[in-house]
C-alpha cells in the first residue's frame, strides 16, 4: 500500500471536482477548453466561386505585401563607439542593493546587461534573506519599465519643470510656516534611518511640519502588544528552525506576513529528508485558508474572533501542568474561566489533546505565534502563553524588528483631517504614500484634502492621492535610487542605483533636501548620495572596528550591500499587568469579516504589474481579482455559488464583490484580501478586484482587520473569477480517483517512513521499453523537487517569468486556459470540503527521455539534445499543437496571439517595457509553442565558462532561475550522470518518484514525496 489516505478519500482540485460536476468531468475529458481546439466548420463557410477566390487571392497578396506585415523597426544594433567602463557586451554585471517593495527591505542582487537591469534576485550575503526574495521582489523589475510611470513633474496634470515646481513649493512652504499653518508629510512605513534624518532636517527647517506614517498592511497590533508586554515596540524574530512544535494562530508566517521568506527557510530546515530526520510539527488554527494553513500537519478552523478564547483555554490547560513564570491568584482567575472543552467539538478531542500534549512536552522548544491581523489582546495572551511554556528561548533578540518612525494612531490621523477641514493645514506632502486609497473612508481624508492649500504627491506613478492634489512629482524607482535600511537588529543594508534615472524623475529625499535648502539650484544628482555617505560615515563607519578608510569601507559596503553591526541586546521582562489588564474578547455569533494581506500586489503598489496580477493565488488559483472567500456550508446557507455577487455590510460601510467557495474556511466567516480595487493607476491594474478598505473604519473594534457584526446577503448578478486550477487537468474520466491511483501525488507520514523507509516503492514494477534506449554519456540534466519543502509560494513562477520573458496574457485569455507561465503549481485537496488536506506539486516540463511530444512534431521543432534536454526550436514551430496534445503533463504553452502586442490589459509592447527582456532568451511570437527549457541559456553560459576555463562542466555550475529563487531550496538541479551530485542522490532517495512513471516516458523531474508529521501512520 503506497498511500495512507483512507480508501474512501480521493484527491480533488475544486468543489466541482469533489462533487463530480458533469462540467468538470467533461472538461477533463477534453484536455483543452471548449473552443480552443475547434476546427473550421466548413458548413459555415460561404460558398465561393473559383473566380472570386482568385480575385481575393490577388487582392490579399497585394495587401500582404504592402500593409499586413507585422513589421516593426527595432532599430539597429550598433557597437559602442565609446564603451562604458565595466561593460562587456554579452556579459552581465551584478550590483548589490536593497528592495523597498515592502517594509522587510530584503537584500537584493540586480543583474544588468549593457546597463539595463534585467533580473532581481536575493543577495546571498544578506543575513536574513540569504539570497532569496519574494515574488513581488522578483517581478518588481517590471515597475522600472512601466510605461505609465510619471515622466515629468505635473502641476494640475500639466507638464512643468522642476525649477518652477521647486520655486513654487518653497514659496508655499515658507508661506505655511510664516502663517502658522501646518505642513503635513504623510509617509508609508519608514525603514531608512537616513530618510528619517532628512525628515527631521525638514522639520528643523519648517518647524510647523508634522510627520504622519501610515501603511495599509502593518504589524501595529503586534508592536502595541509588545509595548504593553515588554515596554518596547521592537519585537524579536523567532528561531523557527529550533522549534519542535509551532502553533500559528491566523498567522500566515510562511506566506504573507512578516519576514516570510526567512521564515520559510528556517521552517523547512526542519523538513529535511536527507540525513537525520528531525521534523517539526506545525499546527495552524485559522479562519481562512492560508499558505501556512495548507502546509499544516494539523489544521483547525477557528475564526479570528474566537482566537482570544482559544488562547486563554490553552493557557488554562497548560498552566495547570506547570509554568516557567510565577502565577498568582489574580492571573489564574483571568484565564480560569476559559475551558478547552468548548473547542473539542469544533476541532476534535484527539487533535486538541495532541496539541496540548505537544506544547506541554516541548516546553522551551515550541512557539505559539499570533498573526499580524489579530488584536493586541490576543498578541499579549500569546506572549503570556510563551512565557508560561518557557518558549522565550526561541526569541532572537539580536535580530529584532526595528521601529524607526512610529505608525500614526487613529487619533493622530483624525486630528490631521480636522486640521485640514479647519483650514489649519497649508501644505500636504504625500511622501511616496497613497493615503486616499489606504485610509478608511470614514476618516474623510479625501474630502479634507480639498481644503488644503497645496497638496504635493511624490510618487512613481499617478495614484488616488496624487490625483486629488495639485502637484504630481515623479520619483526614482528603487533601481535608480540611493538609500539604506535598518529594519532588523544588527543588519544595515544599502541601496544603490544601478541605472541613471530613465525619466525626468528625482530621488524623493533629494526633493526634500532641495526644499530644505530653499533654493532650486541646490539640486544636483549627488545631493542625496553625498548626504547618505555622510550619514553612513557618522553612524555606521564610525562604530566599526575596521582598518579600512571611510571611502574604501563605503565601496566595500556597496559591494556587499549589507553591513553587520554589533549591538547589545537585552531581553525585557514580561509585564504581568499587561495580561491582568486585558479586555476580554468574546467570539461572535454574527458573520465575521477578515481583511488581510494579499500575496502579490502589496498595498496596491504592485497592482499595475501584469506579472504579479497573473500569478495564480497560491490557494484558490484565482488570478486578476480578489473575492469574498466563504466556506461550502456558508455558501449553501446563503444560497450562493462562486462568482455570485455578495453584499457585505458592516455598520454603514458596504462592499459588493464576488463570492468564491473556498474549502477549509470557518463557517459564518468571510475572508477578503486588501490591496485590490485601485482606481487611479495604469491600464493593467485599473479596477482590478474590489477595494476592501471600504469596509475598514477609524472606529476600530478590537482589530482594524476584522469585524464581527457584519451582515451578508446575495446581491444578485455575477462577476467571473478566473482560476487556473481547473485548467490543464490530467484526464481522469476513465479511472476513478486518478490522481491517487496513478500516484501523481504520493505522500506518507513520518511515522510510517520511520518504520518502512521504502514504503513508496514496495509495489514498483519494472518497465520495459519497446525502443532502444538512448545512452547519455556526458552531462544529463535533471531536476528534483522536494515536496516536503515546497510551500506553493510561487516565487519560482515569478522568477521564471522574468528570466524567460514570459508574456502576460490578461484575464480574458487566462479564462480561456491560455496562461503562459512555464511552471504550474498544482494544488490538490483530499478529505472533505470542510476539512481538506492540501497537497501541492510544481509541474513543469519533465524533459522526458522518451518524450511523447517529440514523436508527433511534424517539423522536428521539439527534439532532444545530447545532454537530455527536451528543447524547442521556435523558428521551426508551425503551431500544430500536436506536442501539447501528446504531453501527459500538460506543460506546453501555445502563443495564440502575439501577447506583447495585442492586449490592452496585458504585457504590452513598447520601447520601454521591451527593455525588461532577457537578451539571452528568444521573445516568442504568435503561433509558437513554448515550455520550460531548464534555463538552457544558463546551461550554455556555464558551458562556455567551462570551455574558457578549460575544465569539465559540472552540474553544480548551473543554477536554474526557479532553483535560484526558491526560498526553501526545494528545487535541486544538476547532472544526473554524476553520482556524487545532489540531484543524482535525490533520484535514488527512498521517497523519490516520477509522476505517471508507468507511461515509461522517463521524466527527468524527480519528486520527493511529502511526509506529514501526524501522530499516526495515516494522513488525517
Amino acid at each position: 500500500m503506497n498511500d495512507f489516505r483512507k480508501s474512501s478519500d480521493k484527491l480533488w482540485k475544486s468543489l466541482k471536482d469533489y462533487n463530480e460536476d458533469p462540467e468538470i468531468l467533461n472538461a477533463k475529458n477534453n484536455e483543452f477548453m471548449e473552443g480552443v481546439t475547434d476546427d473550421f466548420d466548413s458548413s459555415k463557410l460561404s460558398g465561393l466561386s473559383r473566380r472570386k477566390f482568385l480575385a481575393l487571392l490577388s487582392a490579399s497578396a497585394a495587401l500582404t505585401a504592402t500593409a499586413c506585415t507585422n513589421y516593426r523597426d527595432k532599430g539597429e544594433i550598433i557597437p559602442y563607439n565609446k564603451k562604458p567602463d565595466d561593460v562587456l557586451p554579452g556579459v552581465a554585471n551584478y550590483y548589490a542593493s536593497t528592495c523597498n517593495g515592502c517594509s522587510q527591505s530584503c537584500g537584493i542582487l540586480v543583474k544588468t546587461r549593457e546597463g539595463r537591469p534585467i533580473k532581481i534576485d536575493g543577495n546571498p550575503d544578506h543575513p536574513t534573506s540569504k539570497g532569496k526574495i519574494c515574488a513581488k521582489g522578483q517581478a518588481s523589475i517590471l515597475n522600472l519599465y512601466d510605461p505609465e510611470r510619471l515622466t515629468d513633474p505635473l502641476v494640475l496634470r500639466k507638464k512643468t519643470d522642476w525649477k518652477s515646481v521647486d520655486g513654487e513649493i518653497i514659496n508655499a512652504l515658507n508661506n505655511s510656516q510664516s502663517s502658522g499653518k501646518e505642513i503635513a508629510i504623510v509617509t508609508g512605513e519608514i525603514t531608512s534611518p537616513t530618510t528619517k534624518k532628512v525628515l527631521n532636517d525638514f522639520v528643523a527647517k519648517y518647524p510647523n511640519t508634522k510627520i504622519y506614517s501610515h501603511s495599509l498592511i502593518n504589524d501595529q497590533q503586534r508592536r502595541d502588544a509588545w509595548m504593553y508586554s515588554y515596554g518596547t515596540d521592537e519585537y524579536p524574530a523567532v528561531k523557527w528552525n529550533d522549534a519542535n512544535i509551532i502553533l500559528a494562530l491566523d498567522a500566515d508566517f510562511l506566506g504573507s506576513e512578516g519576514s516570510y521568506i526567512e521564515n520559510m527557510r528556517k521552517h523547512t530546515q526542519r523538513r529535511e529528508t536527507n540525513g537525520k530526520i528531525d521534523f517539526n510539527r506545525l499546527y495552524v488554527a485559522e479562519g481562512r485558508m492560508s499558505v501556512t494553513g495548507m502546509l499544516a500537519d494539523y489544521r483547525f478552523r477557528i475564526s479570528p474572533d474566537s482566537q482570544y478564547e482559544f488562547v486563554m483555554a490553552l493557557i488554562n490547560e497548560l498552566s495547570s501542568r506547570g509554568s516557567s513564570i510565577v502565577l498568582d491568584s489574580n492571573v489564574k482567575s483571568k484565564f480560569g474561566k476559559y475551558s478547552s472543552s468548548k473547542f473539542e467539538s469544533l476541532i476534535g478531542k484527539d487533535k486538541l489533546n495532541y496539541l496540548i500534549n505537544d506544547l506541554n512536552t516541548n516546553r522551551s522548544k515550541s512557539i505559539v505565534y499570533a498573526g499580524d491581523t489579530l488584536p493586541k489582546e490576543v498578541q499579549i495572551a500569546v506572549n503570556f502563553l510563551n512565557e508560561i511554556l518557557g518558549n522565550t528561548s526561541l526569541y532572537d533578540y539580536a535580530n529584532s524588528f526595528k521601529s524607526l518612525v512610529k505608525h500614526s494612531s487613529t487619533e493622530e490621523i483624525s486630528q490631521l483631517v480636522d486640521s485640514m477641514n479647519n483650514g489649519k493645514v497649508g501644505t500636504v506632502i504625500h511622501f511616496d504614500s497613497n493615503p486616499v486609497f489606504t485610509l478608511p473612508e470614514d476618516f474623510g481624508y479625501a474630502s479634507a484634502l480639498k481644503k488644503a492649500a497645496l497638496v504635493v504627491s511624490l510618487s512613481e506613478t499617478e495614484n488616488e492621492s496624487s490625483a486629488a492634489g495639485n502637484y504630481s512629482l515623479p520619483i526614482n524607482n528603487q533601481l535608480e535610487s540611493w538609500g539604506d535600511a535598518y529594519v532588523r537588529g544588527g543588519i544595515y543594508s544599502l541601496q544603490q542605483p544601478v541605472i541613471a534615472p530613465i525619466f525626468n524623475s528625482r530621488q524623493k529625499e533629494a526633493v526634500l533636501l532641495t526644499w530644505i535648502a530653499g533654493n532650486s539650484s541646490t539640486f544636483n544628482e549627488d545631493i542625496y548620495h553625498n548626504y547618505l555617505m555622510n550619514s553612513f560615515n557618522a553612524d555606521i563607519f564610525s562604530k566599526m572596528d575596521t582598518l579600512a578608510d571611510a571611502k574604501t569601507f563605503w565601496y566595500s559596503a556597496l559591494n556587499d550591500g549589507v553591513v553587520n553591526i554589533k549591538e547589545k541586546v537585552q531581553p525585557n521582562k514580561f509585564n504581568i499587568a499587561a495580561f491582568n489588564n486585558l479586555n476580554d474578547l468574546s467570539s461572535s455569533k454574527d458573520f465575521t469579516i477578515h481583511l488581510h494581506n494579499n500575496y502579490f500586489i502589496g498595498d496596491g503598489k504592485f497592482a499595475n504589474n501584469g506579472w504579479l496580477q497573473e500569478i495564480p493565488h497560491p490557494v484558490s488559483k484565482v488570478t486578476w481579482d480578489n473575492y469574498a472567500a466563504i466556506s461550502p456550508s456558508t455558501a449553501k446557507n446563503l444560497n450562493v455559488d462562486s462568482n455570485d455577487l455578495l453584499h457585505i455590510k458592516v455598520g454603514n460601510r458596504n462592499l459588493t464583490l464576488p463570492a468564491f467557495i473556498q474549502p477549509g474556511l470557518a463557517d459564518k466567516f468571510i475572508s477578503i484580501e486588501l490591496g485590490y480595487g485601485r482606481t487611479v493607476i495604469g491600464e493593467v491594474g485599473k479596477e482590478v478586484g474590489f477595494n476592501a478598505v471600504n469596509l475598514m473604519s477609524k472606529s476600530v473594534q478590537s482589530s482594524p482587520f476584522f469585524f464581527s457584526n457584519a451582515s451578508v446577503s446575495k446581491a444578485g448578478g455575477k462577476h467571473e473569477l478566473v482560476s487556473t486550477q481547473e485548467q490543464h487537468a490530467l484526464d481522469d474520466t476513465f479511472v476513478k480517483d486518478f490522481h491517487r491511483i496513478r500516484k501523481i501525488i504520493q505522500e506518507g507520514t513520518l511515522e510510517k517512513y520511520k518504520k518502512e523507509p521504502n514504503f513508496l516503492h514496495e509495489e514498483k514494477e519494472k518497465l520495459f521499453s519497446i525502443t532502444n534506449e538512448v545512452k547519455y554519456t556526458g552531462n544529463k540534466w535533471a531536476m528534483a523537487i522536494d515536496l516536503n519543502k515546497c510551500t506553493n509560494c510561487q516565487v519560482c513562477v515569478a522568477s521564471c517569468n522574468v528570466e524567460n520573458n514570459i508574456a502576460v496574457v490578461g484575464k480574458e485569455q487566462v479564462s480561456k486556459g491560455r496562461v503562459m507561465q512555464w511552471i504550474r503549481l498544482d494544488r490538490y485537496y483530499s478529505g472533505i470540503p470542510d476539512e481538506p488536506i492540501v497537497s501541492n506539486q510544481p509541474m513543469l516540463c519533465q524533459h522526458c527521455d522518451n518524450a511523447p511530444c517529440e514523436n508527433v512534431c511534424p517539423v522536428n521543432a521539439t527534439n532532444h539534445s545530447p545532454d537530455g534536454l527536451n528543447q524547442m526550436v521556435y523558428n521551426r514551430c508551425v503551431g500544430t499543437r500536436y506536442c501539447s496534445n501528446n504531453c501527459p503533463y500538460k506543460v506546453r504553452r501555445f502563443n495564440f496571439f502575439n501577447y506583447r502586442d495585442d492586449f490592452a490589459d496585458s504585457y504590452y509592447e513598447n520601447d520601454l517595457t521591451a527593455l525588461v527582456n532577457n537578451p539571452e532568451v528568444t521573445v516568442r511570437s504568435r503561433g509558437v509553442m513554448e515550455k520550460c527549457s531548464f534555463c538552457v541559456q544558463r546551461i550554455m553560459e556555464a558551458r562556455s565558462d567551462a570551455i574558457r576555463d578549460n575544465r569539465t562542466l559540472k552540474g553544480s555550475d548551473v543554477v536554474t532561475a526557479c532553483q535560484q529563487a526558491c526560498p526553501t531550496e526545494a528545487i535541486t538541479f544538476g547532472d544526473a550522470n554524476d553520482p556524487t551530485s545532489p540531484v543524482a542522490k535525490l533520484r535514488d532517495h527512498n521517497l523519490s518518484y516520477h509522476v505517471l512513471e508507468e507511461l515509461n516516458v522517463k521524466p527527468n523531474v524527480t519528486y520527493i514525496a511529502k511526509l506529514r508529521n501526524t501522530h499516526s501512520e495515516e494522513i488525517l
Binding site: 482568385l54 505585401a65 562604458p84 565595466d86 544603490q496 544601478v498 541605472i499 541613471a500 530613465i502 549627488d526
Partner: protein
C-alpha cells in the same frame, strides 16, 4: 447569375493586378513609416549610473 468574363480579359486583369502588386510592394512604405515613428518618439536613453559599485566577487 455569374458575370461572364472571357479568358483573355481575366488574365489581363490578373496581370495588371500582379504588376500593381509588384510596384506597390516595391515602394519603401516601411522605411517611410519608420521615419515617421522615429520622429514622433522620444528615444529611451539607458545610462549606467556613474556611482554604482559593481560586484567584484562571483555571485
Amino acid at each position: 447569375m455569374t458575370k461572364k468574363i472571357d479568358r483573355r480579359s481575366f488574365f489581363s486583369t490578373f496581370g495588371k493586378g500582379a504588376i500593381i502588386t509588384a510596384v506597390v510592394s516595391a515602394l519603401p512604405t516601411k522605411f517611410i513609416s519608420s521615419i515617421d515613428r522615429v520622429s514622433k518618439k522620444e528615444k529611451i536613453n539607458i545610462v549606467i549610473h556613474p556611482s554604482a559599485v559593481k560586484r567584484t566577487k562571483k555571485v
